[in-house]
């Protein structure tokens, strides 16, 4: 490990993560590790059918008090979910099924027993009497007249439909190049290493309900749970201990969470539910699942003109509180111009209810699909024109001199040099060398392809953006409390939730930078609504901008007070002092933070007149520009594809990215590498197929393929650094970018390998079967044409 010295500054230091030691030693504390005496386990009776009338639930004799149906939980309130738009249809989602089940895996009853195995035994004895109804399985079919309905009272199956019309799309009809393509990104699970889980009990001393919850945002979860349970928020304490990944999947109110809390209020002992992987794959938050039917228009010189068509989001059976999945459609359509000067858009969007588990956010939210569609279209236009796809990108991409650039769909691309990112990636992957290699051919008969994809990643968006989205909860700020204890050590309490991002390290680096002390003197605390200031949690790549900014502000205020007290103790004017190395330095000597903190906390007689005791500051932060700042980058990948088996091997993967100022470059590298691992999952492996009855067909890791170490290349990275103009230190969020571009880059690479026969790869994951069948289809077409 490189030793870092304070003189180098803490912003930009690749410190080892504070979190790593406990996790490497197995000393982490996740929900399933929490031991409260008397805890009993819950297992759920779940629907075996995609759509059915619940005629009754038969509970065996001898089980009263151990089996709970919806009627036994009440009274509960239904949370209205989705945007605050009258046009968004309500999909009341009870904690346990009422008289209808709408997806396989929907909880119908909860069984309580001393162990999970016994609870599952009890589940086996409960009989749900279901009368099967026609299932809505395909989101495009679902919008045809005559389709069965997920909700009978709705006029069709759309939660909401919309139109995005920008520029003058009527002019596109006469464009020299018009290509019509369909793209499908199939359904995935979020596959956090730790599944979901909660443990709840009534704390009689504090007279409150305590819920240990594996969540990305405890404060917002408390709000939802309090509303559902009808409890005042001060009677509910949510504790998120170590959380083993979330990726979006732990940022929605789920029926099990409400059921566990409600049962805890009915029984005299703690209860917990620990989601197993089968439940996770079947009934946790699902993601992706977009369908695009698009026409791209271009000039004969390769200028991209516009995109028209339809976007379908297969959103599953219910909207998850608070925001549902409606943002998928707007984000997909607003990102469909990518980084290009495409000025005309005409899109119809449909967020469609189907008899599948509800969709929620997942790292990248909507943009992997949008990026897949537009970046594939760019390659298709290039192929049509006989151009090098890279050159077509370079020709159409927004240049540095055009920044800030307002896209057709109204997003403000703030800073950066997109052309430099393209060129860097091209040089890293050595495009000419690959083109030469392709000409030589491979001795093993495989085909080599190279693909590029460019992404932008909006982060740090605040009030303006979320109000525009009609969000029920507007995460426009974050908060931080900075407290110096009598010995001069510091505790930060923040409202965001660390679930693998390294916040304990990066946030302490920021405070260390402001306070001029070593990060080892700073503890970061989060995940307990009783001790942390209100915050929204960690999602949307927002924490480094928002919580980082709040920590910076709180630390700065704290530092100012420290300096003021220090100046008094040094008997000099504050202007003559500075903070350095854990002390306030004046013209003739210094006084340590420990002495100052002692005065402020326990020896007030040393404080200057008019200065209140305590070193304790709570600040909030919102960036000046709340439309967001955009990270961006280029992914370049080389693949080898065996046409007959369809097996794709990644030979090289290079990324040039720009997330503004990096607080901890090693953590940035980890975020990029980790995001790409999940992006490769979307591109090549992960899928929950459904049969025509709505039965999920990948319900264990035997069928649901997650890329593991052998499938994930060591990604080569270059960091361009263009600081943001509107955030503290110039940071931009970067948690999701890695996951956005891989499906597009990899599909482009596979298509490039077969560009001579014109094979198209427009559906993820690119399984061996899909790849081989696309090649075979193209071969046959070419044979037929010749």
């Amino acid at each position: 490990m490189a030793v870092h010295s304070a003189a180098d500054g803490w912003i930009g230091a690749s410190l080892l993560r504070k979190e790593d030691a406990r996790h490497l030693l197995g000393h982490g504390m996740f929900v399933a590790d929490v031991r409260i005496p008397g805890t009993q386990d819950i297992a759920f009776v779940r629907s075996q059918m995609a759509h059915a009338q619940v005629r009754g639930v038969r509970v065996p004799a001898g089980a009263p008090g151990r089996v709970f149906t919806l009627a036994d939980l009440g009274p509960l309130n239904i949370l209205e979910a989705g945007p605050e738009l009258a046009a968004h249809r309500h999909s009341p989602y009870p904690a346990l099924a009422d008289n209808r089940v709408r997806y396989v895996g929907q909880p119908i009853a909860a069984c309580v027993a001393p162990t999970r195995a016994e609870a599952e035994d009890l589940v086996d004895t409960v009989e749900a009497d279901l009368e099967e109804l026609p299932a809505v399985v395909d989101c495009v079919e679902a919008m045809r007249p005559g389709s069965p309905r997920v909700f009978e009272q709705w006029p069709d199956n759309a939660f909401i439909a919309g139109t995005v019309k920008e520029g003058d799309p009527d002019t596109l009809a006469s464009a020299p190049i018009r290509l019509h393509r369909q793209f499908r990104m199939n359904r995935q699970a979020t596959v956090s290493l730790e599944c979901r889980g909660s443990l709840a009990y009534w704390d009689h001393r504090n007279d409150e309900l305590v819920i240990y919850l594996s969540t990305q945002g405890g404060h917002v979860a408390r709000r939802g749970l309090a509303q559902a349970l009808g409890l005042p928020e001060n009677k509910l304490r949510v504790i998120a201990p170590d959380v083993g990944g979330g990726f979006g999947g732990k940022n929605r109110m789920m029926p099990e969470d409400i059921a566990v809390a409600a049962i805890a209020m009915k029984v005299g002992h703690p209860v917990r539910w620990i989601e197993d992987r089968r439940e996770h794959l079947i009934a946790s938050v699902h993601a992706r699942n977009h369908y695009y039917d698009l026409i791209v228009s271009a000039d004969s010189d390769g200028t991209l003109l516009g995109v028209e068509g339809e976007v379908y989001i297969d959103a599953g059976a219910y909207s998850l509180w608070p925001t549902g999945s409606f943002m998928e459609a707007s984000m997909a359509s607003r990102n469909l111009t990518g980084p290009y000067r495409i000025r005309h858009l005409n899109l119809k969007t449909f967020t469609v209810a189907t008899n599948k588990a509800p969709m929620g956010p997942f790292r990248g939210v909507a943009r992997p699909g949008a990026c897949f569609a537009i970046e594939r279209l760019v390659d298709e236009v290039a192929r049509e024109l006989g151009r090098e796809p890279f050159d077509l990108r370079r020709q159409n991409i927004v240049t540095a001199s055009e920044m800030p650039y307002q896209t057709a769909a109204g997003m403000r691309l703030d800073t950066g040099d997109y052309v430099a990112a393209l060129d860097t990636a091209r040089d890293m992957i050595d495009l000419p060398k690959i083109r030469a290699r392709q000409k030589r051919g491979e001795p093993d008969g495989r085909a080599i392809g190279v693909g590029f994809a460019f992404y932008t990643e909006q982060s740090g968006h605040g009030q303006v953006e979320w109000v525009k989205r009609k969000s029920r909860v507007v995460p426009g700020y974050e908060s931080a409390n900075a407290r110096m204890l009598p010995d001069g050590s510091v505790i930060l309490h923040v409202g965001t939730q660390n679930h693998g991002q390294g916040h304990e390290t990066t946030l302490s680096q920021i405070a260390a930078h402001e306070l001029k002390i070593d990060p080892s003197r700073i503890s970061v605390r989060y995940g307990d609504t009783s001790t942390t200031p209100f915050g929204f949690g960690t999602f949307a790549s927002r924490t480094i901008v928002f919580a980082g900014g709040a920590v910076a502000r709180a630390s700065r205020s704290l530092g100012e007070k420290i300096q003021r007290i220090g100046a008094h103790l040094l008997q000099t004017d504050m202007a003559n002092t500075r903070l350095e190395d854990g002390a306030v330095h004046g013209p003739s000597g210094s006084v340590s933070f420990a002495e100052i903190a002692q005065a402020a906390n326990i020896r007030q007689e040393h404080l200057p007149a008019g200065i209140d005791p305590l070193l304790d500051v709570t600040s909030t932060y919102e960036p000046k520009e709340t439309g967001g700042v955009f990270s961006y980058g280029t992914h370049a990948v080389v693949v080898a594809v065996e046409p007959d088996t369809g097996v794709v091997e990644i030979l090289d993967y290079a990324v040039s990215e720009d997330c503004g100022t990096m607080i901890n470059p090693m953590i940035v590298d980890g975020q990029v590498q980790g995001g790409i691992a999940q992006g490769i999952g979307t591109a090549l492996y992960e899928e929950i197929p459904y049969d025509e009855l709505g039965q999920p067909l990948a319900t264990t890791f035997g069928d649901y393929m997650v890329p593991c170490a052998p499938e994930i290349p060591a990604v080569r990275m270059a960091h361009l650094v263009t600081p943001a103009q509107t955030t503290e230190y110039g940071v931009k969020g970067l948690g999701e970018g890695g996951a956005i571009a891989p499906p597009a880059a990899i599909a482009n690479a596979v298509a490039d390998a077969f560009r001579d026969i014109g094979a198209s790869f427009n559906e993820t994951p690119l399984t061996p079967r899909r790849v081989s069948e696309a090649v075979e289809h193209a071969r046959r077409n070419k044979g037929g044409a010749a």
């Binding site: 195995a117 035994d121 007959d644 088996t645 264990t700 393929m705 061996p768 069948e773 075979e776």
Partner: protein, 277 residues
């Protein structure tokens, strides 16, 4: 995903294990490494009354080199074979196959006997042992019997094992000279169950090659037309493909166009690898 209740017994001898496994009116299962059975019990797709733990029976752990063969006791783990802790008479074929079964954690516990007894169509050992003309020794209430792998595995998850039968181990004949072999496999990812496994072997310069395809139908099969074509010496890809197509039609007619294309590719790769060795 917790197993339903069951009784557990850990017999001290093979005879005792056989009696327990053969109890009338009781649904029993033998557990060795448990790498397939435990998940099936956890998912409650396998429901049993009595689990008979044979994992500590020393008689099933015997590994010896006989004059004409190698004997691998049923409890030999994939990892032991992978690491070369068993005699390698096969020029590295078994080590190579073992090293690609699932993940190392599974290989540390999973056994060759358990794999063959389960007879998963996508498993590696049935395919490999068929290619090596191995025989299996089974002890049961009617005494001991020896069967070829081809006879022992009768279908998908189906063998000749009857209640009370226990796989003792495998007798694998030594090749006359250094074995030439090729192995090719297609799986969705490393460690996943295969969608195609092809193994080609030649025991000696003058002997007829063996080609086996697994993970394609209910059980692995020898491909005689393909083997015969290779035995003729230098063969064009076209004639080899024709022979492969004939074999696929004979044994795996149910496979769809993609599957046949994929199998042909793995078979070709295995054959070419053997020829190059």
């Amino acid at each position: 995903m917790k197993a339903a209740p069951f009784e557990y017994a850990r017999p001290k001898t093979v005879a005792e294990a056989s009696v327990l496994l053969g109890r009338k009116g009781v649904n029993t299962a033998a557990i060795a490494g448990g790498q397939s059975l435990l998940p099936m019990l956890g998912l409650r797709v396998a429901l049993i009354d009595l689990l008979v733990d044979i994992s500590r029976l020393e008689d099933l752990k015997v590994v010896t080199r006989t004059p004409d063969s190698v004997w691998l006791g049923a409890l030999t783990t994939h990892a032991a074979i992978e690491d070369g802790r068993t005699p390698d008479l096969f020029n590295g074929l078994m080590r190579h196959v073992a090293g690609q079964i699932s993940y190392r954690a599974v290989r540390n516990h999973g056994t060759i006997g358990g794999s063959v007894a389960l007879a998963d169509p996508a498993a590696d050992w049935p395919c490999c042992l068929l290619a090596l003309n191995a025989s299996v020794r089974v002890v049961g209430r009617n005494g001991v019997r020896v069967e070829s792998i081809a006879d022992f595995i009768t279908g998908q998850y189906e063998t000749t094992l009857a209640a009370g039968d226990i796989v003792m181990g495998f007798d694998i004949p030594a090749p006359a000279s250094a074995l030439r072999w090729g192995f090719a496999k297609v799986a969705r990812k490393s460690g996943a169950f295969a969608h195609s496994i092809a193994i080609a072997t030649t025991q000696s310069r003058n002997s007829r090659p063996t080609v086996v395809l697994g993970a394609a139908g209910p059980r692995a099969r020898k491909l005689d037309a393909t083997a015969g074509m290779i035995g003729l010496g230098e063969t064009s890809e076209e004639s080899l493909r024709a022979a492969i197509a004939a074999d696929l039609e004979t044994h795996f007619a149910d496979q769809d166009a993609y599957q046949k294309r994929m199998h042909a590719a793995t078979i070709l790769r295995a054959v070419r690898e053997m020829q190059a060795r």
